[in-house]
């Protein structure tokens, strides 16, 4: 099934009224859509967890979608929220488990560019965007990111902290 706006909106409307067959189809389609959406914006080892967390959020917050409004911008807002939350949890836990190679997929997510994660990251000042991308997505250490960017280690940390805070406020921005 194609994950286009009209089909997903129709399935979601049926799901809100309790149609389980439509809901199963919707979740399958959303799962595929989310994998593309998060592609290259999260470490591969975290992708499954993040997609599942987002599906659970879709489930628990399904009443917050209004059938008179488009579906994908709603799903993208949910997905961005979970993504930023995921990065912040990584930040708080100060994990260093993102060193795996990223998947080399060339698949572009079939969504409008304005709701993409790249668009969200692009709203940050370049230094903050780069610090987050290198450390929280690519899995570099602070020292490696410092060497790659020419920023001091403390500046890299400050940029990550400020960038994540700002991302949390920009989730619904186009």
């Amino acid at each position: 099934m194609r994950a286009d706006e009209a089909t997903l909106a129709h399935l979601m409307a049926l799901s809100q009224s309790g149609d389980r067959q439509a809901y199963a189809a919707l979740l399958e389609a959303c799962q595929r859509w989310l994998r593309g959406y998060y592609s290259r914006r999260i470490a591969p080892s975290s992708l499954d967890d993040l997609v599942q967390e987002t599906l659970i959020a879709l489930h628990t917050k399904r009443a917050s979608w209004d059938p008179t409004r488009p579906f994908l911008p709603w799903l993208a807002a949910i997905a961005r929220y979970r993504w930023v939350d995921h990065l912040r949890r990584l930040y708080r836990a100060d994990e260093r488990e993102l060193n795996e190679e990223l998947l080399g997929s060339d698949d572009e997510p079939a969504i409008a560019a304005r709701i993409s994660i790249d668009r969200l990251l692009g709203l940050l000042p370049p230094a903050q965007e780069r610090a987050i991308a290198l450390v929280k997505i690519d899995g570099l250490s602070i020292a490696e990111a410092s060497a790659a960017t020419g920023q001091s280690e403390s500046l890299v940390k400050v940029n990550i902290h400020r960038g994540l805070k700002k991302l949390a406020l920009l989730i619904e921005k186009e």
Partner: protein, 217 residues
């Protein structure tokens, strides 16, 4: 749904099994619920404390009318923003309430300027006590609206819970000050601008601290 199955297929099966019909959050329903709560709060203030004496005598004061309108407008604008925040969508604008807040901020600003000109008389115990009474009534009259907005956000999916809490507090406090204005006999810009506005600030602070804990998802 707190357990996370090992694979997505199992998770989807779980979620489908858990599906129950839901009523979508409609903008109009949210706005109607908040306006009803604000109306009940204002009616309760009038029922318990009485209507503004000047109104009973058929007199109106322009400054009081403008201030009351500004509080009502701020409450409405902030409420609309909170309702939008409960229904996330990339591309939504959450900034509309700021313009109303900017206009309403003229009240405490003007009150402060006049109070500074008057000097120590504004710090007299009876003046402070009278102001604190209105602050207390305004804060109490805002609690129902804050409760309704918090319930809305809990059902919804606010992507900026802290900001949503702050704006919910502003909306509740502004409607609380609106309710106080219907009762309070004062026409003085210092009293209205400082003490009535303080209810908005107090509720904004309360909303910012309390609401995010209740609506984070």
């Amino acid at each position: 749904m707190t357990m996370k199955p090992l694979n997505s297929d199992a998770l989807i099966a779980d979620l489908v099994g858990d599906l129950a019909p839901v009523r979508p959050l409609r903008f109009g329903a949210g706005l109607a619920a908040v306006l009803a709560a604000a109306g009940i709060s204002a009616a309760a203030v009038v029922a318990v404390l009485g209507l503004r004496p000047a109104w009973l005598a058929g007199a109106v004061n322009p400054m009081h009318l403008i201030a009351t309108g500004l509080y009502g407008g701020l409450g409405l604008a902030a409420t609309v923003t909170v309702i939008i925040m409960g229904r996330p969508q990339v591309g939504s604008d959450h900034s509309g309430w700021r313009w109303a807040a900017l206009m309403a901020a003229l009240l405490p600003l003007a009150g402060l300027i006049v109070a500074i000109g008057r000097g120590a008389e504004e710090l007299a115990p009876d003046v402070m006590l009278y102001g604190a009474e209105c602050l207390t009534i305004g804060a109490a009259a805002s609690l129902l609206v804050l409760g309704v907005l918090t319930a809305w956000l809990r059902r919804g999916a606010p992507t900026a819970p802290t900001r949503a809490g702050l704006v919910a507090g502003v909306a509740a406090g502004a409607f609380g000050s609106f309710a106080v204005s219907i009762h309070c006999p004062a026409n003085d810009i210092v009293h209205i601008g400082i003490w009535h506005s303080m209810a908005v600030l107090a509720m904004a602070g309360l909303g910012r601290v309390l609401v995010p804990r209740l609506v984070r998802w």
